[in-house]
């Protein structure tokens, strides 16, 4: 079953100074439970693509289907994680985690219970009455993930969700979030600038060309490592090979 199907998407931004073609004829699909990563040069339209998939933005042409349903607006199936955690300083961690449910008017006993379990599982339950500025970067990112997960999304869109973290924390949060996503059997699309991050986490990598973004290549990632966690997989023998290939395709002339 296809969780996401992107068909012939093109996107032009209009302004008084002219028009920018951000995306051109993008097409791909993502299977249920699959972890797909999108890489591409800066400004090639990655964030635009996620916004279109989430229904926040409607494309100039083309269609997106989520589990066979055509996207016309935002959907409860999608959980969207942005680059920064954007926890609200005026809300406690608990209140932050409940934000999505409040907006969707879905604050039920079960939902609260789910939030409690998620907070306990990811070591934030004792901090639920704290304010975000009392938490470390990694904890905040986990709180942001829980805020997304309590709304029970089938598909997670991660837009450089880890790039605000320092390298050490980032590797740890990668592992955390990867295991959460796999355990809960969610579908994920991760946009990143970090080739290593994308190889270590993704089942498939979609490489976009520079603007206007088009699909340049799609890589199946098959790594031989015993315990499939992003950190372990960085040691896999195939890792370098993928890295070099994608690096070449990204065509970064320094």
């Amino acid at each position: 079953m296809k969780a996401v199907e992107v068909h012939n998407i093109s996107m032009k931004y209009q302004s008084l100074n002219g028009e920018i073609t951000a995306l051109k004829d993008i097409g791909f699909s993502v299977q249920d439970g699959e972890f797909v990563s999108i890489v591409g040069p800066s400004g090639c339209g990655k964030s635009t693509l996620l916004s279109i998939i989430s229904g926040l933005l409607s494309p100039s042409s083309g269609t997106v289907w989520l589990s066979g349903e055509k996207v016309t607006g935002t959907s409860g199936k999608i959980g969207y994680m942005l680059q920064k955690d954007h926890l609200f300083n005026w809300r406690t961690i608990w209140q932050n985690v409940m934000l999505g449910l409040e907006i969707r008017k879905a604050v039920t006993q079960e939902a609260k219970e789910r939030a409690r379990i998620l907070l306990k599982t990811y070591g934030l339950y004792e901090f639920k009455n704290r304010y975000p500025d009392q938490l470390s970067g990694g904890m905040r990112q986990r709180a942001a993930l829980i805020r997304t997960l309590v709304t029970d999304p089938q598909i997670l869109l991660l837009d450089e969700a880890f790039s605000a973290l320092d390298y050490q924390t980032r590797l740890a949060v990668n592992d955390d979030i990867y295991s959460i996503i796999k355990k809960e059997n969610r579908t994920a699309i991760l946009v990143t600038h970090d080739i290593s991050e994308s190889i270590s986490m993704a089942d498939r990598i979609i490489v976009l060309s520079k603007r206007p973004g088009m699909v340049k290549n799609i890589h199946e990632i098959k790594l031989s490592c015993s315990n499939r966690t992003p950190l372990n997989c960085r040691e896999a023998p195939e890792f370098r090979h993928y890295f070099q290939e994608i690096w070449k395709e990204l065509d970064v002339h320094v």
């Binding site: 935002t74 409860g76 969207y80 954007h86 300083n89 005026w90 907006i103 969707r104 500025d133």
Partner: protein, 283 residues
């Protein structure tokens, strides 16, 4: 406030076994604070004493400059006549109504301008002109339109504070991180939810700040209003005292005004600390 610290610091330093250098540092800090406060009090006392003596010695004419003992006498007399708190009360009430209304109405109008790009674009030149107009010039107009009463005075304070509030708060709204708004939208939030979940709470410090500015502006509006309307209040006492050449009354009213304004400002600062505890500006 520093009286508490004065008692606490040595106790804490002993309890925590703080190093000698630190004790010395804390002692010097405390000494510095005390000397500043002492000098402030001394200056005030000196000025008052000098004022009193010079007036007694007829170096300055107490009929024109008044003098501290006469001011005290005037306060006592106003109190005995039973009008002291009446005038203070009226002026304070008008001011409080003025800045509360100014802040609420200003925030409400800012919300409308934020909501509709079209309305805000249309309103822009008018706001710019109104903002640069000296609003006091409108006083006589309000007097004719609304009549000589508290309503005119409140409208005067609104005229002074409203535009500034709108611009200030609207700027706060526009300065909010777009990604925070996007976050609410990713959960399917509509414009009203963007307003209530992000825009208003994130702008809370800005609104409190506008309130602080409005306290000062409202005093100006109220006093000018009372000058024009001349029925009651401290502004009325000042104008009346000037007209009948009772400078004692004028000076007394000005001093009471200063004290009342300072107390009210401190009240708002206290309110701010109470409300903005977990809402610091670094979002």
């Amino acid at each position: 406030m520093f009286e508490d610290e004065e008692e606490n610091i040595p106790a804490i330093s002993q309890a925590l076994n703080i190093s000698l250098e630190r004790q010395e540092y804390l002692r010097r800090e405390r000494f510095g604070k005390i000397s500043v406060r002492m000098t402030q009090i001394l200056l005030l006392v000196l000025a008052l004493v000098l004022w009193e003596i010079m007036a007694d010695a007829k170096i300055i004419d107490p009929f024109i400059t008044s003098q501290p003992s006469r001011i005290v006498k005037t306060i006592v007399q106003l109190y005995k006549e039973g009008v002291l708190f009446y005038h203070i009360g009226i002026t304070c009430l008008e001011t409080i109504v003025g800045f509360t209304l100014g802040t609420l109405l200003g925030t409400f109008l800012a919300v409308i301008l934020w909501w509709s790009k079209f309305i805000s674009k249309v309103a822009e030149p008018y706001l710019v002109i109104l903002n640069s107009l000296p609003k006091i010039a409108l006083g006589p107009v309000f007097l004719v339109w609304i009549g000589a009463g508290p309503a005119s005075i409140i409208v005067m304070t609104l005229a002074i504070s409203l535009i500034v509030t709108i611009l200030e708060v609207l700027n706060g709204f526009w300065g909010i991180d777009q990604e925070k708004i996007k976050l609410v939208q990713t959960f399917g939030g509509n414009k009203f939810q963007v307003l209530t979940k992000v825009v208003l709470p994130a702008s809370f410090p800005t609104i409190i700040n506008a309130l602080k500015i409005n306290v000062g502006l409202s005093w100006v509006g109220v006093i000018v209003g009372e000058f024009l309307v001349s029925k009651a209040g401290l502004g009325y006492l000042i104008i009346y005292g000037g007209q009948v050449f009772k400078l004692d009354l004028v000076m007394t009213s000005v001093i009471i005004l200063g004290v009342a304004a300072a107390i009210m400002y401190q009240g708002v600062v206290y309110l701010e600390r109470l409300l903005v505890k977990n809402n610091d500006l670094k979002y």
